[in-house]
């Protein structure tokens, strides 16, 4: 009851009436907009308006200087046949398909480990979370150093293991998977934090009851802990899907789409189209396509999670 009360904005009734009802409504409106107006104008003005404009741009052939020619849906028709766009989409999907499950599984495993009451746990926690605050740009530059084929630490490790040396990011078959790995390094801290919080929210009685009933540790994890983590997993899956689908920073600071275009992602391609080759209309169309695919994928994850949620395992 207390919560409902707090949520209802009924404080207005307490203000002593000084004027007639109309004057009061006007004053109220002005006060409301004085508080909410500035931020609303900035947020809406810098997203709804440009997003609508982007749609018109996406139906034009335009380099930003000479007058635009409206071409209808032609940009979109061209995009779905554009080999560069198809390749970029494939790379982005590979990244997403590895990164999303990878960060979920690693996040759960590390969170379970960090949830143990053992020595050094504070030290482990700090180490594992720190990379998350480093920027993708800095992470990329650091990765170039660690994976440098001539003198990088990664090749030194391979040498110690008796494995052949690698070209790493300069190898067109390997680069995209390494990008995935680097992205995981930078982002797993985030999923871990969230899973750790979720684990600590699981009521202790639930686990204890299962243990009393004679369930093994693995069975408790599988049948009590994991189902409790499901809502968080849906959120993490959506969030990480968006992160992977929009990957740009790390590509820009490591491979710039190379070698031989093997790591070009969709957002990187959009950036090149719009700001390197000045094909604004075509770039905007690609951005709209990506937006819609991301939206559909996210909704898919949410619906899938809901459906699974109704089943009992």
């Amino acid at each position: 009851m207390a919560v409902t009360f707090a949520v209802t904005p009924r404080s207005q009734s307490a203000v002593p009436a000084k004027r007639g009802p109309r004057g009061r409504a006007l004053r109220r409106g002005l006060t409301g907009w004085a508080f909410a107006g500035p931020a609303t104008v900035i947020v809406v003005g810098l997203s709804i308006f440009p997003a609508v404009w982007a749609f018109f741009i996406s139906r034009a052939k335009w380099n930003g200087i000479s007058p635009a020619t409206m071409v209808g849906w032609r940009n979109y028709q061209q995009l779905v046949q554009d080999p560069d766009m198809i390749a970029a989409a494939q790379h982005t999907l590979i990244l997403t398909a590895i990164f999303v499950p990878g960060s979920i599984v690693l996040g759960i495993v590390i969170a379970v480990a960090l949830n143990q009451k053992i020595r050094l746990i504070g030290f482990y926690r700090t180490c594992i979370f720190v990379p998350y605050v480093a920027s993708a740009a800095a992470t990329g530059i650091l990765a170039n150093f660690v994976f440098n084929p001539q003198f990088g630490a990664a090749n030194d490790i391979l040498r110690h293991l008796g494995l052949p040396q690698s070209q790493f990011l300069e190898n067109q078959h390997l680069a995209i998977y390494l990008i995935c790995l680097i992205l995981l390094w930078g982002e797993v801290g985030f999923t871990t934090v969230i899973y750790l919080a979720a684990l600590q929210d699981i009521p202790r009685e639930l686990v204890e009851a299962a243990v009393v009933d004679g369930a093994s540790r693995w069975r408790v994890f599988r049948h009590v802990t994991l189902p409790e983590l499901r809502p968080v997993t849906i959120f993490v899956a959506v969030w990480q899907t968006i992160t992977a689908m929009q990957l740009f920073d790390l590509i820009y600071t490591t491979t710039r789409g190379g070698p031989l275009n093997s790591t070009q992602t969709v957002v990187y391609y959009i950036y090149e189209l719009a700001f390197q080759t000045q094909r604004l209309g075509y770039g905007a169309a690609a951005a709209y396509l990506l937006f819609i695919v991301t939206l559909v994928l996210s909704l898919g994850v949410i619906l899938y999670g809901r459906r699974r949620g109704s089943e009992v395992f």
């Binding site: 707090a6 904005p9 307490a14 203000v15 409504a25 109220r28 409106g29 006060t31 409301g32 508080f35 909410a36 500035p38 931020a39 609303t40 947020v43 809406v44 997203s47 440009p50 997003a51 404009w53 741009i57 495993v109 480990a113 053992i118 020595r119 050094l120 746990i121 482990y124 180490c127 720190v130 990379p131 605050v133 480093a134 920027s135 993708a136 740009a137 990329g140 650091l142 990765a143 170039n144 150093f145 660690v146 001539q150 990088g152 630490a153 030194d156 985030f190 969230i194 968080v232 959120f235 993490v236 929009q246 820009y252 600071t253 950036y271 719009a274 700001f275 905007a284 951005a287 937006f291």
Partner: protein
């Protein structure tokens, strides 16, 4: 009899993981103090044999890194302050005040959460070019003045506060603005800290937008300065690592000092985001 480890088996998982996460950062710092000759050796060394500060000297003399650092501080500083002021005001307005257009305004704000940067960057660039702020610091910070996330965060917080305190103040003849400033805001410190941390993290580390909006190298932020500098000539790693230290250490130190707050913030993004 069962064979037993003298320590918890979890250490076997956590120790290597912790090293994988933290060693590259340690190497980054140590390398920034090495000489070029030492860096270009194979096998690589983790610990420098002697301390060199050439990396930093070259960074500050040959590039505009100090300027970039100052620019980043300005952009992030404005972003954080403006977020705190504007989002807390708007959050309060949407949580407590009734005014014409409130519903539609809030729905529009929520809808913007879905729109990604790559969709906005082309029209926003054109818009900024038209009003003449492309290639200025303003171009970098204007999109960071307020955010849907910030408004939503503050609104949720204010909805959870009991209204009785404010009502008492209002009845005593205290105006809305004074009530907000002297009664509500002091209570909102946890939410404001969360908002400040998240805004700092996102604006400090932003790359794509400043890259699009700024091409004059004296207006660069650190992130684009380093990203662009890296490709320009023969790589001098000590210099690059020094730049990386400059770009990451402020946030890493803040994280180490206020770890609990940071973790609470990250958790909040996860639960409410």
């Amino acid at each position: 009899m069962r064979w037993k480890l003298p320590f918890s088996p979890w250490h076997l998982l956590l120790m290597p993981l912790a090293l994988i996460f933290v060693l590259p950062l340690v190497q980054m710092v140590l390398t920034s103090f090495m000489s070029s000759a030492e860096i270009n050796q194979f096998p690589p060394k983790l610990i420098p044999t002697s301390l060199h500060i050439e990396g930093y000297r070259h960074l500050f003399t040959e590039t505009k890194a100090l300027r970039w650092f100052a620019n980043t501080v300005i952009v992030s500083g404005i972003a954080v302050v403006s977020h705190l002021v504007l989002c807390s005001m708007a959050g309060y307005g949407f949580a407590r005040l009734r005014f014409a257009g409130r519903g539609i305004a809030f729905v529009l704000i929520l809808a913007t959460v879905m729109i990604p940067i790559q969709l906005l960057m082309i029209p926003t660039y054109l818009m900024f070019a038209r009003i003449g702020i492309v290639d200025t610091l303003a171009a970098a910070f204007v999109p960071w003045l307020a955010s849907a996330f910030g408004i939503f965060l503050m609104r949720q917080f204010f909805l959870g506060l009991p209204v009785e305190l404010e009502e008492a103040a209002l009845i005593d003849g205290c105006g809305r603005w004074r009530t907000f400033r002297s009664i509500v805001l002091p209570l909102a410190r946890p939410a404001l800290t969360t908002l400040a941390i998240i805004t700092l993290l996102w604006s400090w580390n932003d790359l794509l937008w400043p890259l699009v909006a700024i091409s004059d190298d004296s207006r660069f932020t650190l992130q684009i300065g380093l990203a662009n500098f890296q490709g320009m000539r023969r790589t001098e790693w000590s210099q690059l690592m020094a730049g990386n230290v400059l770009a990451t250490m402020p946030l890493i130190i803040a994280f180490l000092v206020a770890q609990k707050r940071f973790i609470a913030t990250m958790t909040f993004t996860g639960i409410k985001g």
